[in-house]
Structures are given as structure tokens and as C-alpha cells.
């Protein structure tokens, strides 16, 4: 069975589609990917360089009558963009107008009462534009580029920086370097969210876990 090495901007659904699987769970739940599942408990948050075993495709059988034509439809699961927008005080940004561009599709809507914004993404979407006109904000959303935040690998700092930025703690560029601005952002997060009287600016286990739970993944 082939091994797929994850590239930036890929996630399980896109990899499954690439290999002709309608359902990403066929790959993720394959016994040969047990170690991968343990390493990446959230299949939507994987890291470039991760190795995934691609199972052999299972041959299906369908009975057809000779001399007739038929249609075969494959249900491909579409990925979803799911955001929860909040104000700086943690309150949801309820009923806020937004303009979202997903591929060629432009969507105008309002957030739900809990600040939620959710849309199915066209296949191949790796970038989206989000505008909040009432707040003068516009964002470029890089889909699938959020790295896992764990103790392994070199991506821990960059993964933390991405979550800090999403949570409103500006830490400079997402470059994987724990510089002065990153440490200041971590300290601010520790003081605000962990209520630490003496925040140390270090990405310790408690801070990493809280970053993940606060961010949502």
C-alpha cells in the first residue's frame, strides 16, 4: 500500500479525494494508520510531513442489465468551513454581517446568535476571504494550514502563533520563532485565559492545551 506524505494545505478529505475515496474515514480508520490516529486525534489538523497509509481501493460490484445505460453516483463528502466569531471580551459576535468568498462563490450572511459561521466548501478550496463590514475587518483564511499543537516536531511555535493570532493576540509573523512579540502574546494569553499572576510566556503543556481548547482545535 502506498504511503502519502502530507503537504501543506492538505487534510484528510482532500487526500481521500485525491486517491479516489469518497469517505476520508476509510483511510483514517484503516488499521495500518493506528499510529497516525494516535498522533493526530483530529483528522482535520495534520501536519506537513505526516505519513498516511493509503489502503487499496475496494472493488465494488453492481449488477447491470446488458443493453441498458445506467448512472453511477459517488457521494463525496464536502468539507465545511466552521468559524465562531467573538469579541475581545469573549462574547459571541452575534448577528454580524459577513461577506465570504469561497472559491468562485460569494456569500453574504449574518452570524448566528453564538457567533457561528458555517458553510460547505467547494472542492479544492484552500483559501477564503472573509469581510466583516461593520467592523472594518477583512481576513484571508488559509484552509488546512493550521498545524497541530503538540509536543512533537518543530511546528509547535508556529502552531501556537497561528492560534494566538486567531484568538486576537498579535504575535507578529507566523514564523515558528518564539521572539519577543510571541512571548508577549503568550504572556497576555496566560494572564487573560489561565489567570496566571506571573505569566512566563512559555508554551508549557497547560498553555498549549488551553490554546487548543480555546481555539476549538
Amino acid at each position: 500500500m502506498p504511503i502519502h506524505v502530507v503537504k501543506r494545505g492538505e487534510w484528510l478529505s482532500t487526500i481521500a479525494q485525491h486517491y479516489g475515496f469518497a469517505d476520508w474515514k476509510i483511510i483514517y480508520n484503516h488499521p495500518d494508520n493506528a499510529a497516525f490516529r494516535k498522533l493526530r486525534p483530529n483528522p482535520n489538523v495534520i501536519e506537513p510531513g505526516d505519513q498516511i497509509v493509503i489502503p487499496d481501493p475496494r472493488a465494488g460490484t453492481k449488477s447491470v442489465t446488458t443493453g441498458t445505460s445506467g448512472q453511477f453516483r459517488i457521494k463525496i463528502q464536502k468539507s465545511v468551513l466552521r468559524l465562531v466569531l467573538c469579541q475581545a471580551d469573549g462574547k459571541p459576535l452575534a448577528d454580524a454581517e459577513y461577506k465570504l468568498t469561497l472559491g468562485d462563490e460569494s456569500i453574504t450572511g449574518r452570524t448566528a446568535s453564538d457567533g457561528r459561521l458555517e458553510h460547505t466548501m467547494p472542492r479544492g478550496t484552500v483559501e477564503a476571504k472573509l469581510m466583516l463590514p461593520d467592523f472594518g475587518r477583512h481576513f484571508t483564511l488559509k484552509i488546512g494550514e493550521l498545524d497541530p499543537l503538540d509536543t512533537n516536531g518543530d511546528g509547535t511555535v508556529a502552531a501556537a502563533q497561528a492560534r494566538l493570532r486567531n484568538l486576537g493576540y498579535e504575535c507578529g509573523p507566523i514564523d515558528g520563532i518564539a521572539g519577543r512579540r510571541t512571548r508577549a502574546a503568550v504572556r497576555a494569553f496566560q494572564a487573560d485565559v489561565l489567570a496566571r499572576k506571573h505569566p512566563n510566556g512559555l508554551l508549557d503543556r497547560e498553555t498549549r492545551n488551553k490554546l487548543v481548547s480555546e481555539h476549538g482545535c
Partner: protein, 154 residues
């Protein structure tokens, strides 16, 4: 506010899972007192505008809006602009149906509001506000000034 869109790294989700990405709009609530009926024309609503110099942000508050509250002790409207992103702003008031700039170059960072080098930190007391110590302008300062709401003079 910056000219470029802020780039955010986002995890995708599936229909049948609960993965989400929380996005917090950083910014300050800025309270600006506005003298009631400044133009002595009771037929026109008092209005104030906060506009950034790139033209990306422009909000108008008028008497009667939810974020405009009459001061209990003075003839002022307390106008609250919510979640104002970092940037450089002008404050305009509407007099006789024309906008006039009354504060130019209000500098909003993620932690404070500064005008001519003077920093305004969170307080609801205009007297305390007027006595706020000036701080050197340094956007990259590591000083942890906790200020979610700031009052600005007019």
C-alpha cells in the same frame, strides 16, 4: 487598520464533527463624549464619526443608537465605538449636516489609544482620564497595559 487582510490559518471541518476555529476580533471599545446639540440645531440629530485614514473603517453613531448613552451628570452623549481595530483615525462631528474633524490622528493599538503621544487607558471617569500619564509612542512595546475600553476627550 492595515491595508492587507490579516492571514489566518484555519482547520477545515466535516459535517459530522465538531471542529471549529474561534476567531476573536481584537480591538478596543472607544468611548467619546459628545456635547449634546453641539450645533444648536435641535432639528438635526447629534452624530459622530470615527473614520480610519485608509478608508476601511468608518462608523457613525447618532443620538438614539444603542451605543449612544446620555451622561447622567453632564450634557454629554457617551458614544461607544466597539471593537475598533488598530489604526490611525479621525473623529468627525456633524454640524449643520457637514462633517468636521475634531480629533485628527487618533492612534489605536491593540492595547491603548494615543493622541499626540498621550495614552488613554480604561476608565469611565473623564477627570481621571485627563490625568492619564503620557507614555512614549512605541507600538511594539511589551508593556502589558490592560485596557479594553478607553475614554477619549472631545
Amino acid at each position: 487598520m492595515t491595508d492587507e487582510a490579516l492571514e489566518l490559518h484555519i482547520a477545515p471541518s466535516n459535517k459530522d464533527d465538531t471542529t471549529f476555529n474561534r476567531i476573536v476580533l481584537s480591538g478596543l471599545d472607544i468611548v467619546i463624549p459628545l456635547e449634546i446639540d453641539l450645533d444648536e440645531d435641535p432639528k438635526t440629530d447629534d452624530a459622530i464619526r470615527l473614520i480610519d485614514r485608509d478608508g476601511d473603517y468608518s462608523r457613525v453613531l447618532e443620538d438614539g443608537d444603542d451605543d449612544v448613552v446620555r451622561d447622567a451628570h453632564a450634557p454629554f452623549l457617551r458614544c461607544t465605538f466597539r471593537v475598533v481595530p488598530p489604526g490611525v483615525y479621525d473623529v468627525d462631528v456633524r454640524l449643520h449636516n457637514k462633517w468636521h474633524t475634531v480629533i485628527a490622528g487618533l492612534q489605536v493599538t491593540s492595547r491603548s489609544v494615543r493622541l499626540n503621544g498621550e495614552s488613554f487607558v480604561g476608565t469611565n471617569n473623564l477627570g481621571e482620564f485627563a490625568e492619564a500619564d503620557p507614555v512614549p509612542a512605541d507600538d511594539d512595546s511589551d508593556d502589558e497595559v490592560a485596557a479594553d475600553t478607553v475614554d477619549c476627550p472631545l
